[in-house]
Subunit: 109 residues, 4 copies
Amino acid sequence: MMNAAYEECIKACLECMEACNHCFDACLKETDVQMMAECIRLDRECADMCAFAAKAMQADSPFVKKICQLCADICEACGNECKKHDHDHCQKCAEACLKCAEICRSMAA
Amino acid sequence: MMNAAYEECIKACLECMEACNHCFDACLKETDVQMMAECIRLDRECADMCAFAAKAMQADSPFVKKICQLCADICEACGNECKKHDHDHCQKCAEACLKCAEICRSMAA
Amino acid sequence: MMNAAYEECIKACLECMEACNHCFDACLKETDVQMMAECIRLDRECADMCAFAAKAMQADSPFVKKICQLCADICEACGNECKKHDHDHCQKCAEACLKCAEICRSMAA
Amino acid sequence: MMNAAYEECIKACLECMEACNHCFDACLKETDVQMMAECIRLDRECADMCAFAAKAMQADSPFVKKICQLCADICEACGNECKKHDHDHCQKCAEACLKCAEICRSMAA
């Protein structure tokens, strides 16, 4: 049903969106919210960027490459921030972000 | 990682989002675009509503029930419109929409 | 250019979106982020809901009333949370949210 | 309340979003929808990109420059497509898009 080349990338974006939205929520429930401020900010932006990229691929946008390039940049920043924190939700989010960054980077190439 | 009660509903929303975005694109590529105008309009709105609902569940929003209620209404309207058209993408979209409407309706109850 | 009945409501939604996004950012930069956690959560949801409602009115969606009803509920919750905090950005945000809630409520009626 | 440097660009994005969403709706109501297919597709993408860019500036995102760069590209494509059509909504949309493209381009520089 979908452009086969996009399938893996859409999947990575949707998994990253889920990990970021969950991490956003979990960070807001942590005791030391202040330490998580950058994580919260980037989780929101990364989740929304991934949703935007998934939509672009699903609708066969003429801007898929440029959108995936930007998505890769934002995922990478979010993954690097999340990686600094020991919380399980941050570590899982870092993994999803960095994987998505890599796949989006290939899509953009 | 995610509230277990939400998992099925998030999955249905993301599948409906994908079906709607694909149908939006495919309708725009049909020969008789005019006949597809309502489908195109509802595909956009339904895809975006499903993304919004998935985000709300993933981030454990206090408005999940009300958001899923609205999502069910929009999915139902989109599914009923898509059902009228014989194109494969419309039939698949109708199925995803009506399934998502039902699951969102239960979530909202 | 736009349905005249929608103009005031679109304006209120866009002003509320701006106030919420600014408050989201400013809350994340406060010293006591933990106290602002609910505010941050609702700012995000309210900003995104207002953008969704503005889009629906601008594109003459068949779901404008139901969308504005939900938008009113979310704006009201966000406004009531922001009102509790003395920060200038929270007070301004509360004002924009409660005004938008009222106008969306009328639109939904 | 807002970073002064962003004000003009946010305003251009919100005006472009409105023009695109209105044009999306108006194109779907035209007699010859098929001729408007590319316009409809780009109107959706441009409106949503502009909303994303406005949000990024309002929340002081670290990715404002890159997001405005992408927004400029999408606005330019949408403006160039709209310019081809004589409908009043297309001409107005082209104007809003090309103005927004220029302002986003400066922001990205």
